[in-house]
């Protein structure tokens, strides 16, 4: 049993909107072990990105973050900005969805890499450049010297995403958060980037959080999955178990909406309705749920331990 690298408990993020506070993330809990890759899956608006930003301490101005998140036993939530800044890019790093937008178009790639090392490792320019070049090679950019001198617009989409991964891994972070790292890329490049993330785990980073809306991505590289809906956790399980013994109605609906090569005759079943959040207490998925009960609208479903390491939040399997 390896030790816990990240422990998140009762995490909440609320954002200011014109019509009051929106609970983007609510009572979320999970943990991450050394060497593990956890997938967080959900539709847009399910709070996955806000979860990642909360861990980074980068939620928008005016937002409120509550609960607890401990990295190697150290609390992240509510830490002073200066201390967080020392952690960011060093012990926690993030890869963003769109590499085109995440790289500064006005700065050479080299600068965007070395500045991280100069900040956190206090290296001189020459050493930093050498380390940066090595890192570019490690993420599969063979012509790394030329790459260092390039501007982002001179690289392809896949190369750019390799660069952002290299930036994130420069200081060998304990925790790597990848927010939809392949969504903006071509399908063939997607597979390469996912392979890269898997290969570098352990040697270049401690554990990973992969945020995606795509169950196929999760199936490909993750160890465990957390399914989110409307800012709340729905189900948490090992990947195999979730795919074969998915418990939550939302998880099963998601799986039915995927194309299956092994059962082509079953067809695709889309989830009815639009993603959204009902007001009031209760389960956020209830308006679209085919199996909803009376209490779904009144009471938040409690956490259920289906099996060791398999949690679900649904009234269906409750005491009644």
């Amino acid at each position: 049993m390896s030790e816990l690298l990240l422990e998140v408990e009762d995490l909440g993020v609320s954002l200011p909107t014109s019509s009051g506070q929106l609970h983007a993330v609510d009572s979320l809990g999970f943990s991450l072990r050394e060497g593990e890759l956890l997938g967080i899956v959900g539709e847009s608006g399910s709070g996955k990105t806000q979860t990642a930003l909360a861990l980074m301490g980068l939620t928008p101005a005016g937002s409120r973050v509550s609960g607890s998140a401990r990295l190697d036993g150290e609390e992240l939530i509510g830490r002073p900005e200066a201390e967080l800044n020392d952690l960011r890019g060093d012990r926690i790093a993030m890869v963003f969805q769109d590499p085109q937008a995440a790289l500064n178009p006005y700065l050479r790639i080299g600068v965007q890499l070395t500045e991280v090392l100069e900040q956190h490792r206090e290296l001189d320019a020459v050493t930093a450049a050498k380390r940066a070049t090595e890192m570019l090679q490690a993420v599969g950019l063979d012509d790394s010297e030329r790459c260092m001198r390039s501007y982002p617009h001179q690289l392809s989409g896949g190369m750019r995403q390799r660069v952002t991964i290299a930036i994130a891994l420069l200081c060998r972070p304990r925790l790597l958060i990848a927010d939809e790292p392949t969504t903006a890329l071509d399908v063939t490049v997607q597979a390469q980037i996912l392979g890269l993330l898997r290969v570098l785990k352990g040697s270049h980073y401690g554990a990973g959080l992969l945020i995606t809306h795509d169950l196929a991505v999760v199936a490909e590289i993750c160890d465990r999955v957390l399914v989110m809906y409307g800012g709340k956790p729905m189900e948490l399980a090992a990947v195999d178990r979730l795919f074969h013994n998915g418990h939550h109605p939302y998880t099963r609906a998601l799986l039915r909406s995927l194309p299956r090569l092994d059962r082509p005759e079953s067809g695709l079943v889309p989830i009815p309705g639009q993603p959204g959040r009902p007001t009031g207490a209760g389960c956020p998925f209830r308006p679209r749920c085919a199996e909803r009960l009376e209490q779904c609208a009144a009471v938040v479903p409690p956490r259920l331990d289906i099996a060791p390491g398999h949690l679900s939040y649904c009234h269906r399997s409750g005491p009644n």
């Binding site: 014109s18 301490g57 980068l58 928008p60 101005a61 005016g62 973050v65 509510g78 900005e81």
Partner: protein, 298 residues
């Protein structure tokens, strides 16, 4: 709490729409609206309260400071003329120029921009290239030339000042027209055989009124500024008429012996321009926010 400071909160988002929401934006907006209204009322009706006429010389009180007893509330100038009346009458001219010149620049800019945008293709290219060429000109010099060479005619001044500002308006309107001209209701009108001129007038122009109004509101203070600039150079309105710019110019010459001659017209001019700019800015923010919330709802 974990404020990363990476959000943009420019001005307040209006919680609703209409005048109430506009005025609720900030205290600055309310204060400036009241001030502007007060100045407008004073400028229009204020001269009636004073027994003096604009060109009346009071030989007993030449270049005297403000005094309640003499009835010269803002003092008199070095010709013994009442500064209160002159400041307010000057304001009439300045405000009139602001409004009329803006109207002229609107007329030119909106028709030019709408025609270029609606026609598209080569016509559009040529018309906009002409705007580019004109843009690079020191326009002010032409206005100065015009005023110097053709004498100080009020109508000519409106046109000359209005002609400076239509370029921005033309660009904005062209952009709006381009985005509107392939909307369904325009296509429908075209399919029904409505002539182009009528489509522009009835369907395109009315649909960009809010943007036009915003830019027009920001143009008014600029026009007043140009007029006062001309008057300052002695090229604006002619005696006995006056304007704020001209009064400032006269005041600047006497500021050591009679500072009130500078301070009264200068403060009226500055406060008016300040308020107009604040309100124009607020109107733009309000309009942006409104457009944003409409887009969000769609």
């Amino acid at each position: 709490m974990s404020a990363a400071g990476n959000s943009v909160a420019v001005g307040a988002t209006p919680a609703g729409s209409g005048w109430r929401a506009f005025f609720n934006q900030s205290r600055g907006v309310r204060v400036c609206s009241c001030l502007l209204l007060a100045i407008a009322v004073l400028v229009v009706f204020g001269p009636l309260l004073s027994p003096y006429a604009i060109d009346q010389v009071d030989w007993q009180h030449i270049a005297e400071g403000p005094s309640w007893s003499s009835g010269h509330w803002f003092g008199t100038d070095n010709n013994g003329r009442d500064l209160y009346v002159r400041t307010l009458r000057g304001g009439q001219i300045s405000l009139l120029v602001g409004i009329c010149a803006t109207a002229i620049s609107l007329l030119i800019g909106v028709s030019y921009g709408a025609i270029a945008g609606y026609a598209g293709g080569r016509i559009d290219q040529v018309m906009m290239r002409m705007v580019d060429v004109l843009y690079a000109m020191p326009f002010m010099f032409f206005v100065i030339l015009l005023m110097v060479l053709f004498g100080r005619n009020l109508l000519l001044m409106f046109i000359a000042i209005g002609a400076i500002n239509w370029l921005d308006m033309a660009r904005i309107v062209r952009g709006q027209t381009l985005s509107l001209k392939h909307r369904e209701f325009v296509d429908a009108a075209r399919a029904l055989g409505v002539p182009a001129a009528d489509i522009i007038r009835r369907h395109i122009v009315p649909n960009m009124m809010n943007v036009v109004v915003v830019y027009a509101s920001l143009a008014v203070p600029q026009m007043i500024l140009v007029e006062s600039f001309l008057s300052f150079l002695g090229l604006g309105v002619q005696e006995p008429m006056t304007s704020w710019g001209q009064l400032v110019s006269l005041g600047a010459r006497e500021m050591e012996s009679a500072p009130w001659m500078l301070l009264f017209p200068a403060s009226f001019l500055a406060v008016t321009l300040y308020c107009l700019n604040v309100l124009g800015d607020a109107l733009r923010r309000y309009n942006d926010a409104l457009a944003g919330s409409l887009r969000g709802a769609a």
